[in-house]
Symmetry: C2
């Protein structure tokens, strides 16, 4: 049995206790951008219930063009107003350098990725970098609140790095 | 008080009951790619505990270059082996066409986005599209299991669309 099979069994129990559907637009008008890290359970760590918030996640929680795309759709079409960014301690993105990753991929596949891996050296500085990318994007309407955090994987606590309010 | 403030209060309770840190690599060696939709709580719907799985999410659960980047890092550096894709019923991406969204953004901002919004007409067909994008990518090493689902927001159930096993 694969892990996927186990998760499908879990889904049977989840569906048995499920009552839906809820409305499409997030009821708390908020979008969270976070790292894909396995130790960061965004909904549990923030106490988010089903239907409340968009959750956007990728390697590092970096604000890439795809995150801008997702936030543009979230803000413009689905009425979110606040944005929360979450990086975390002990991130995999701290363990390599972009050039090294790109070279390894090129050596293995013969193809050089056309995207930056988005590794970083300091989660706090990268949260600020991600906030600036949102602030300068013409496509993400200015949120009522934009706050950036580092999640501590040892304590489960969100530590604030920076905030912008309109 | 903002919603962000409320979520920070929730995080105090979460941190009070938290014991960490867990190891960095996902203990169940699996990565989930899903839509950012507020009604899809990936960890609850699949019964994923902290530390088990990478969770990658964006508007639509589309396999964009940024998802390929995240999966490449997940597979190559952090040892994930299975991949699960999840789209869902009643998705916001069904409510507009790419040209229309791009034109509206250009009219509002004077700038035409350089990315496709990635709207779609049929969640099942778009799950297959996403699976094909993973299969043809040179950067994502072939997973041991690649399965695609549509989550039903009325029932909470994952319905399988397609599967590939190596």
């Amino acid at each position: 049995m694969t892990v996927t099979d186990e998760y499908l069994q879990n889904n049977e129990s989840y569906a048995a206790g499920f009552s839906g559907p809820l409305p499409l637009p997030p009821s708390r008008h908020i979008a969270v951008v976070a790292c894909m890290d396995a130790r960061l359970d965004v909904s549990r760590a923030l106490g988010i219930a089903e239907g409340e918030a968009h959750v956007i996640r990728n390697a590092g929680g970096a604000v890439t063009d795809d995150v801008i795309r997702s936030l543009a759709i979230s803000r413009r079409l689905l009425g979110t107003e606040e944005i929360v960014l979450i990086h975390h301690t002990d991130c995999g993105m701290l363990t390599f350098a972009d050039d090294e990753f790109t070279r390894a991929v090129e050596e293995d596949t013969g193809i050089r990725p056309q995207w930056a891996p988005e590794s970083f050296r300091d989660p706090e500085e990268d949260v600020r970098q991600s906030m600036r990318r949102i602030e300068v994007s013409p496509f993400v309407t200015e949120p009522t609140s934009l706050r950036g955090f580092v999640f501590d994987v040892a304590t489960g606590r969100l530590n604030e790095v920076a905030r912008e309010s309109s």
